[in-house]
């Protein structure tokens, strides 16, 4: 990508205003402010301009203009990403898909929904409810995050262990290429001919194209769903209980864990009645037909007691179940009640390593002198340690970053990865060198080049330059003598 933009803000704005309502081409720094970061507010950058198109043709035209002048483009849904993937580029355009918020069609018989990218995740299930259907992947940010952002991040959620990630629930995606062409990946059918570009695009963090339409598959709302709430007096016991449930052949609809910090903050907001004294809490949802839920709930309750739960409680009504989940899903922002800022990690580890990693994190928390609240998808090993800090205290964020990096390194060491659902973005770009060697990164760059030869789509995110990685590895080596070399066979 060229080092200098080949067009001025005024010129670019004029070209964009030729086909977009001038009100939705934002050029003044004053009101561009809300777009300077996503859910990861510590990483900020003011863009050249922000544009809010309303039609696919306008998106195509934006891409054509930006491609012509080699202006970087950062796509944005609801800006709830936790890896600064939607953070603007200083010389680039923020392309907001928020105005694309219509559910174009729901086919109840085929169990599919055709969506514009700005449709909120939760809105899909709300709209499908009248047909007895719902959309499976439910990020905790589902109240606000968009399906376009979900596709870009391959978002997961509470129910992903049983119902899959975004990639498992998307049938097709309409992608606007960097040159402004419209391409459909996937189809109404379940499979397409040839290589799976749909899977490649899902999770590509806006680096390969702009999603302008998504067709998802919907699931029948289970006849019954109940949540077993199990409190433990240690995170280790809770961690072990996770494996225990699955070892018994029970695949929960959701299996989530919270530690004491999270329990308190979430309960303050939701008033769900969590056992506030517990050190760790497991929420295990069992769904299915009435018959099988009865069966499995009984088994789960028994298992939890056997595995050391200090309290076991099962939801008695749909309202109670919803309230229990409300607390969990709001736990991230609820920690705003107990700390001004948080830094969310997203590593995935084998479930068998849960106890070990949680223990190790407790140790590191003391080492770095930063509190950690744990709220995560225990069932699929996707950790979300929230490092609590105060941005107004000088140096505290830097220490937080270091702590976070150490955590991700630990994840890779135990056979996991650096990100399970939030993406790499800017936040974890340095940790990519921990998980991949240079050849693998080079292959990623080749994939990127196939879609975006000029590198204008969300540059500087997701996949680091090789030089950047080498330097980071050197730095890391100096800091962490005991870093484990990734397997480069």
């Amino acid at each position: 990508m060229s080092d200098q933009p080949r067009v001025s803000q005024a010129q670019l704005a004029a070209e964009l205003r030729a086909f977009i309502d001038p009100d939705y081409v934002i050029t003044d720094n004053e009101t561009m402010k809300p777009y300077e970061c996503d859910g990861m507010s510590m990483y900020c950058e003011m863009p050249l301009l922000v544009v809010l198109p309303e039609t696919v043709a306008q998106v195509q035209q934006v891409m054509q203009v930006c491609h012509r002048y080699q202006v970087p483009v950062v796509a944005r849904g609801a800006g709830t990403g936790l890896s600064a993937g939607a953070m603007p580029h200083a010389d680039g355009v923020v392309l907001s898909l928020a105005k694309f918020n219509r559910i174009l069609e729901i086919d109840p018989l085929a169990r599919t929904a055709r969506l514009q990218p700005g449709v909120r995740n939760q809105a899909i299930s709300e709209a499908a409810a009248q047909y007895g259907l719902y959309y499976g992947p439910d990020p905790s940010s589902q109240i606000a995050c968009t399906i376009g952002g979900n596709v870009a991040e391959n978002s997961g959620g509470v129910h992903c262990l049983k119902y899959g990630l975004t990639v498992h629930n998307v049938l097709s995606v309409e992608l606007i290429t960097v040159e402004g062409e419209r391409v459909t990946l996937g189809s109404d059918g379940l499979d397409v001919c040839g290589m799976d570009l749909l899977a490649l695009a899902t999770g590509s963090e806006g680096l390969l194209g702009i999603v302008t339409e998504v067709q998802v598959r919907l699931l029948p709302v289970p006849e019954r769903a109940r949540v077993v709430l199990a409190g433990f007096d240690s995170v280790q016991k809770a961690g072990d209980a996770v494996g225990g449930i699955i070892a018994h052949g029970i695949i929960p609809g959701g299996l989530e864990m919270m530690d004491s910090h999270a329990i308190i903050a979430a309960d303050d907001f939701a008033g769900a009645g969590y056992p506030r004294e517990a050190k760790a809490l497991l929420l295990c949802e069992v769904d299915g037909t009435e018959e099988e839920v009865e069966e499995h709930i009984e088994q789960a309750e028994t298992l939890f007691r056997e595995l050391g739960a200090t309290s076991v409680r099962t939801s008695r009504s749909e309202q109670e179940r919803a309230l229990l989940w409300k607390g969990r899903k709001s736990a991230f922002p609820a920690v705003g009640r107990i700390s001004p800022d948080y830094y969310c990690m997203d590593g995935t580890i084998p479930r068998s390593q849960l106890a070990f990693v949680l223990t190790e994190m407790e140790r590191l928390s003391q080492e770095y002198d930063l509190r950690v609240a744990n709220v995560f998808h225990a069932g699929d090993g996707n950790l979300h340690p929230l490092i609590l800090f105060d941005a107004n205290v000088p140096g505290e964020f830097e220490r937080t970053e270091a702590f976070g990096s150490r955590i991700l390194q630990l994840c890779v060491e135990v056979g996991g990865c650096i990100t399970g659902e939030h993406g790499v973005g800017v936040e974890k770009i340095r940790q990519m060198a921990i998980q991949f060697n240079d050849l693998e990164l080079a292959q990623f760059h080749a994939v990127k080049a196939a879609f975006d030869p000029l590198g204008i789509l969300n540059p500087g995110k997701g996949v680091p330059t090789l030089r950047f990685c080498q330097e980071y590895r050197s730095l890391e080596h100096k800091c962490q003598q005991h870093a484990v070399e990734a397997d480069h066979d």
Binding site: K99, A266, F332
Partner: protein, 402 residues
């Protein structure tokens, strides 16, 4: 989030309150999902998180112009975002503070200034508003469509109950309600009468102060509050059980008297007491035995519109519905309960286009189950909904006043 207020604001009570609110926000974006203006415009500048950033920028000394003011003006102060925010961000307070401070900084265009001045003069003035309303009602057929829709049909209030009971509650007459919807308080009094409770109004009490306060005329608003406290005080001292709010917009304001006047050495305590006594009519009724109010006949489904002020400010989401169900009223299904009807005080006049869109959306959401009538708990919402609804719109208490 990280904040860095300029000295000018950092050293004031309002500034410090604002900073405290800002610090609670972790930029998660949940609030945008339930913000009516963001859901309509899809522009982050017109959503709570975006406005928080704009206000943060203002308080941190950044340049702000009418552009920022426009986005803050578009906020309905419905406080749906507050209900949604897991981190406890008190958005309503933040926007009141910021708007007030901004109003002192920026001069508005003449037309806007004139309009707001006119609203501030007319709306709180019960008599003046009444006269103008009657004229509008009389000339209704000759009015252009848009203006005609804003004038509610002339309403005849049922007789106030004659009987007097030992149990007494205070009620706010308000500024607009007596002439626009005189039937509301009358029905409330009659219903309470059937429960052996006497409802009285303090004649000297007027506007709750919301009109001026939310038009960023904070001083005038606070004066109105003091006036009301003075008017109510005798009855409070005399033992009124509660200060019943039949209009949630006013209720939300009065409930905040304690907070807003906390730094007034003269009125702080009284204000706190008033706020403590303030309760929405629905919440008060839920505490009573509702058997005598059982509705005998079904006149079709009722779609209840819970005003933003009742949901998010007074935090009585679901309360009125419980009362209605308990007395046997068949409630119609509705959707998107959290979305504002677009009335929002003076919003329907200062932001007519957006207000109408919100009204359309709300009416659609309220009528999916073909209700025979729409009921609500706030005079502003009642008038606004009534201007376009194809079924009658009434205050919910009127449904219990058989």
């Amino acid at each position: 989030m990280q904040t860095n207020l300029v000295a000018e604001f950092a050293n004031t009570a309002e500034g410090q309150e604002a900073e405290s609110i800002l610090r609670a926000c972790v930029h998660c974006g949940f609030c945008t999902a339930t913000c009516p203006t963001y859901q309509e415009l899809n522009d982050e500048r017109d959503g709570p998180r975006g406005r928080i950033y704009l206000m943060k920028q203002f308080l941190e000394g950044g340049e702000v112009t009418e552009k920022t003011q426009q986005h803050l003006d578009r906020c309905l102060t419905c406080r749906s975002c507050e209900t949604t925010c897991p981190s406890g961000v008190e958005y309503g307070r933040l926007v009141d503070i910021s708007r007030g401070l901004l109003e002192e900084r920026l001069e508005r265009p003449t037309r806007d200034r004139l309009l707001r001045q006119a609203l501030a003069r007319v709306l709180p003035n019960r008599r003046l508003f009444g006269v103008l309303l009657r004229m509008g009602q009389w000339f209704r057929p000759l009015l252009p469509g848009a203006l005609r829709a804003k004038v509610p049909p002339r309403q005849e209030a049922k007789p106030w109950p004659a009987a007097s009971h030992s149990r007494v509650v205070l009620a706010l007459a308000g500024c607009v309600q007596p002439s626009a919807t005189p039937g509301t308080n009358a029905s409330a009094a009659r219903v309470l009468d059937r429960l052996g409770i006497t409802m009285v109004e303090a004649p000297e009490a007027g506007c709750c102060g919301a009109v001026n306060y939310h038009l960023s005329n904070h001083d005038a608003g606070l004066d109105a509050m003091r006036r009301n406290i003075d008017a109510w005080w005798p009855a409070i001292e005399a033992g009124a059980e509660a200060l019943i709010m039949t209009a949630s917009g006013c209720g939300a304001m009065v409930q905040d008297y304690g907070h807003l006047l906390k730094d007034d050495p003269v009125y702080a305590n009284k204000a706190r007491k008033v706020s403590e006594l303030t309760i929405d009519l629905g919440a008060y009724l839920l505490q009573q035995d509702l058997e005598p109010l059982t509705v005998r006949q079904s006149s079709g489904k009722v779609a209840f519109h819970c005003p933003c002020t009742l949901q998010h400010a007074m935090k009585q989401n679901g309360t009125v519905e419980q009362v209605l169900r308990r007395v046997g009223i068949d409630l119609a299904e509705t959707t998107d309960k959290h979305l504002c009807c677009g009335s929002a005080g003076t919003y329907s006049i200062t932001q007519p286009e957006l207000s109408q869109k919100l009204l359309d959306n709300k009416l659609k959401a309220l009528t999916i189950d073909q209700p025979a009538v729409i009921a609500t708990a706030n005079v502003g919402c009642q008038m606004h909904l009534g201007s376009k609804a194809e079924v009658p719109v009434s205050h919910w208490i009127e449904l219990l006043d058989r």
